[in-house]
């Protein structure tokens, strides 16, 4: 009984207490930031390191990306470089600018351009790729490149992080490049071109923003690409000791 009366009372209350408010106050439409897609950004240097090879070669190496955008569309700048310290020259210098959209629960598609401007001939490619998280926690980044001259190649990047503890992390990386046509000028032969495998032990010193690491990296060239390298007086297989830091801003 008391409940029924409460309802009457409440609605009556509402009618006298609120009605003026409703008429006085229009129901506004939400134009606040909350109603807009959330825009976010990030900068990550996955690798920022000094490499010392078994041939006493010294390299400064980075592998970084920066993004800006929403869940639906991001612009991403990816940059990779290997700087020969003694010769003061870039062995590799790749910059990519891509747009990125989600295509499945765990994967994004990317499309854009890549500019290679190392010591020696430059190259420009169109890029089409997918990136995301594969089952069993493998981070995958697979790309197809088509150069201005029509040379095509593909690159697969995979990374797995093993948590020794919640701060000590062992990261295994594999980077493999396959060319579907030869580009002799830059030492690329048809077939499997090269692989780079790495093992890095890091410690999260400041959040996940600064994580120093040490590790080993093995670079190898295959088939015609290896022959080209030899002919040019370069090496086909290198071991590096690396020291550096993973940085996220």
């Amino acid at each position: 009984m008391s409940c029924i009366r409460s309802i009457v009372a409440v609605s009556f209350l509402a009618s006298i207490g609120v009605s003026t408010a409703v008429t006085a106050q229009e129901m506004i439409s939400d134009t606040t930031a909350r109603k807009q897609p959330l825009t976010t950004w990030g900068v990550q240097l996955e690798e920022f390191e000094y490499r010392y090879s078994d041939d006493d070669e010294e390299l400064g190496v980075w592998n970084a990306d920066a993004f800006y955008g929403t869940d639906e569309f991001k612009v991403r700048l990816l940059t990779t470089g290997e700087y020969e310290i003694e010769e003061q020259a870039y062995e590799t210098l790749e910059n990519q600018l891509v747009g990125q959209i989600p295509i499945s629960k765990f994967f994004d598609a990317k499309a854009g351009v890549r500019f290679d401007t190392p010591e020696g001939p430059d190259r420009t490619y169109a890029v089409l790729g997918v990136a995301g998280l594969a089952p069993q926690w493998f981070e995958i980044d697979a790309n197809l490149y088509v150069s201005k001259d029509g040379d095509t190649s593909a690159e697969l990047d995979a990374e797995y992080e093993l948590l020794l503890t919640n701060y000590w992390i062992l990261a295994a990386t594999l980077d493999a490049t396959v060319a579907f046509s030869e580009d002799r000028e830059i030492g690329v032969g048809k077939g499997l071109v090269s692989t780079e495998t790495g093992l890095r032990l890091s410690y999260d010193l400041i959040d996940r923003a600064f994580s120093p690491y040490v590790g080993v990296v093995h670079e190898r060239k295959y088939g015609d690409s290896a022959d080209f390298a030899e002919a040019d007086g370069g090496s086909t297989a290198d071991w590096f000791a690396v020291i550096g830091a993973r940085i996220a801003l």
Binding site: C3, R5, I7, S15, G17, T23, R34, L38, P135, W137
Partner: protein
Amino acid sequence: MNSRLGSVLLSLLMSASVMAGEYNLTVDRVEIDTGDFVKDGIGYNGASPGPVMRFKEGENVKINVTNNLDEMTSIHWHGLILPFDQDGVPGISFPGIKPGETFTYEFPIQQAGTYWFHSHSGFQEPDGAYGSIVIEPEGREPFRYDREYVVQLTDKHPHSGDRIMRNLKMMPDYYNREQQTVGEFFSDVSKNGLMNTVRDRMAWGDMRMMKADVEDLQGFTGLINGKGPDQNWTGLFEPGERIRLRFINSSAMTYFDIRIPGLDMTVVQADGNNVQPVSVDEFRIGVAETYDVIVRPKGEQAYTIFAESMGRSGYARATLAPEEGMEALVPQLREPARLTMADMGGMSGMDHGDMDMNSSEGMSGMDHSSMEGMDHANMSNMDHSNMKGMDHSGTSGMDHGSMAMGKEGPSDPFYAKGSGLVPTAANGGKFLSYADLKAQDPLYEDREPTREIELRLTGNMERYTWSINGVKYEDADPIRLKYGERVRFKFVNETMMTHPMHLHGMWSILDVGADQWNPIKHTVSVQPGTTVYMETEVDAPGQWAFHCHLSYHAAAGMFRKVIVEGGPESTQAKTDVIAKDGGEV
């Protein structure tokens, strides 16, 4: 109750004689010192948390809020029943309060109990913009106490809200330091055997979900009334006194399990509404919930109020003592919780017996089928078993101090069967369940709902997107309700996280299977892999916010606008006509 409402009515009708209190709040940049770190934040009247606002039921309050920030702000009066344009949600109730401006809130206080207030702009609330509300009832309360304290909890993080959101978007596990490690793999191997452990890891790896995904935000310092564990907020008492503790969880993201070793707690109120007293050893307080408990310390000794986070990554601590400076033992944190396949909802059917031991074939089969379809199909099963569980506890069982640890581990009808999140009391005693909450004095007649609205709580942890029915707020149409209807909301949690759902402006009558005694709340926690029902008497016209109260989930899109159509506006129009025609109003 009758006299309570009657007198509100009376006071409104005779506005001349009405009590009216005027209050002032300033919104300020403040410094917050947790004992572990000092950071800049936002507070009220120069401090975070802000003051305890003490109102009287039946009073008309006028609150002048001056914005001393260089950005927009707002204050939402969490749990208060008021006209929608006084509810303080920018873009829904009003445009917000500009820098330098003073906005005056004016509304009648039509209820009593423990509530709180906070900014509804950006991440000002996690940054410190919150305070408490205590409303003294007009009539007598059905319990006695000699002394009362507000015990307001939060999870103060060294990072700003904006930074936390960005980090979570960049790396969803940025703050998770309870992930499974190589060490845990080997300890699981010795417990469950190598093959079982490998299969378990493979099953979770296939879903790309983490058993450790209980708390998105770790690395915080738990505060009670603004004091960190080392600063030890202390409430004094005389032995033998009854103390009413008004627990408020003002955290951005953190659920707390609260106990006071050595003391029984009698829960007398939840979300501001009196409940039939239930004596517990420990209870879990969801984000934005309030619980009032009465304790009666008899000894000339100190007692620790210990609030462990649900994921056991942090804690808040305070002390009740006969004299300042006395301390009691501070317990150790228990082991971090781990989700089970039951918390995945979709998996629960396969979950009985040895939960993790599905063949990996079966698992990958599931993975190929779209997640959505999978969840859906299995959810309906879930739902049935869950309801049965709920009804069961409603009718029998629950009074036997049950929810006991059986062979299958602890259970609670509001958690998925076999869930890794089911709480247990540290002393082996009684842990409060939603199923224990019974309204002391129902506000509404118990009637059949006019319709049901299903809200699937959805998200993608890897992208840190959160949504309702798979749609983020930015893309969503409002939920339209009709004044006078009673809507039954069906929450289906398809994510692996707990979501405290908060409907503004109208009460959430949580279905615990107790019919007219179902408790009346403003925030309802929905555990992973479960379906929870609540009913709402649609008695407040206007437009209202309805969202997950985890700050970063709401900001990521688990948010809706509710529009209540019709109601007194038309009544008003009609009376106008009658008045014009000279009719009797």
